[in-house]
Symmetry: C2
Subunit: 328 residues, 2 copies
């Protein structure tokens, strides 16, 4: 067959490509720890698929502006050989209203680390304990939950008893500049959330990982400048509590799943849960008293997103964790 | 409860946030046609969730570098009131091997446009006709498929007969600078793919939309400079055939679904298919003779990705098309 004629129409018609159209984010390089192992030449290196999935921003919170490429992979590297892990979670958005975001991510990541040989224990406060227990039970995991005492300078005592080599926070309130704890609406929630962030403030020698989606969680101090630039409310609620490895995601649970997917990629083991288990996890949290943190309704949604959306994210992360790249 | 003490540890520990970590893509603004309707202040305006889903790049093709924020929305705006639409699809990757990417996206977008009142017809060549017919049948759609004649300067004849107001191409080879058609490996596929891109080259007055994922498809001429910058192979295979509205996605089918989701958002109607139908669509294409374009195997995968991954993307797009934003 003869080669077809060259294109005849060469005039530029670009109503959909005019100057008002802005470029979609350029591909970001992964952190050196990860990219050093990549074989593709630097110019072709694109964002890690796990990064891209975590950066999905259904709540329009400016996640892409505060997230760092390679964050989940870096956290996974740091956690891979962990011996004693303490996972902190639980966000009470209003009096008596623990939310569905946090415990599922904590349970899934905790299970992954336990399977990799770590001793994993959990710390939360009283309102969130039944929710976290329900999440762990759904996964068939042991439930070594430490309930954080209500008062006193207890962080040093907990740290001395647990001697964690790694501290992980998922969707747990972190204090702001004024020492208060604010929800996404800017209201103080200090009365209903114990100061578990003390565990990350007291020097412990542990490697710290923080996972969040709203800027007001433990760990977000590491991205405070970028987050505070998003607006006045953000600057007010922004936490100052820093971590060694911050993972920002559209939904905090996704961040926990993303680190588990990165651990799968790193170890060649299947450490992430299934889409079917995801549905059961959220349902179990609601049955144990949790509500959606955005709608405040006691229904099986997380951050206003239906169950099927979360199951879909788990499915995508499963693929990303299995290979992360298609090789033609 | 007393406000908790201020953070004591203020030293910066940032092994995971060192200079090697690069920023994840900044949030991109949508094209003016779309963003003019947004109510959020400019500084808080983030990428459209549909854009973010389409930019997922499992094949590491540098999609984010060539995609434009707001592209699916702009294409949907252009197609919304279309009267006569001609949809061109079908990519034969090797002799006798039509691929699973293209016909599902064409059928889903065609169904959406037919439901919105357009007269929709399809054009493909002989190897792809049974695959496209199977996709349409799965959706319960009529199958008005025009088989493009094998030789002769037929484009003007087809255009005169169909008088399309809108021309849409999904995953259809577009000629490169040398007038040849190359696959992603750089091999000529001109012998097995009729020059349907003539329909987009001959002046017709129709508004043109192109959807692709590899740079070598109809429409990619509108992003040729950006794509060619990705490497030597890309510069060689890059198509020169331009369109008014280019939509680039990690998988071309997703691009078609993304435009259908944007049409849903625009019209308030449910115009996207379901995750269950997605599975059946791909299976029907394989039963009709299609193979995976990357693995070349005749199995129910698209671009090397398992069925569940595509079903997950459909599920995410369904949510994005329903609302696209969580309002707390």
């Amino acid at each position: 067959m003869a080669a077809p004629p060259r294109q005849r129409r060469r005039t530029v018609r670009r109503t959909g490509q005019g100057p008002a159209a802005r470029a979609v984010p350029a591909p970001a390089l992964r952190s050196r720890a990860v990219s050093a192992r990549a074989t593709a030449p630097a110019r072709r290196r694109a964002s890690d698929l796990i990064d891209q999935i975590l950066a999905l921003d259904p709540g329009r919170r400016g996640i892409a502006a505060i997230a760092r490429a390679g964050a989940a992979a870096a956290a996974a590297h740091a956690l891979r050989g962990a011996r004693r892990v303490l996972i902190v979670t639980g966000f009470t958005v209003a009096n008596g209203t623990p939310e569905t975001d946090g415990p599922p991510g904590a349970a899934v990541l905790g299970r992954a680390l336990r399977r990799l040989g770590a001793r994993v224990r959990y710390v939360t406060d009283r309102p969130n304990a039944p929710v976290l227990a329900a999440a762990l039970e759904t996964l068939g995991e042991p439930r070594p939950i430490v309930i954080y005492p209500d008062n006193g300078n207890v962080a040093p005592r907990v740290l001395a008893a647990e001697r964690p080599t790694h501290l992980v926070a998922i969707e747990r309130p972190g204090r702001n500049r004024a020492g208060d704890y604010l929800n996404m609406r800017g209201e103080s929630i200090a009365a209903w959330n114990a100061p578990l962030d003390d565990l990350f403030v007291v020097p412990s020698g542990a490697t710290t990982v923080g996972i969040g989606d709203g800027g007001n969680e433990i760990g977000m101090g590491s991205a405070r400048a970028r987050f505070a630039r998003l607006g006045r409310l953000q600057a007010r609620i922004a936490s100052v509590v820093r971590v060694d490895h911050l993972v920002v995601a559209g939904v905090s649970n996704w961040g926990g799943y993303g680190v588990a997917a990165a651990l799968s990629q790193l170890t060649g083991r299947d450490l992430l849960h299934s889409a079917a288990l995801e549905r059961r996890l959220v349902q179990a949290c609601v049955a144990a008293g949790a509500a959606d943190g955005v709608t405040r309704r006691r229904e099986a949604t997380v951050d206003g997103l239906p169950l099927e959306t979360h199951a879909a994210v788990v499915e995508l992360l499963r693929w990303a964790g299995r290979s992360g790249i298609i090789r033609p």
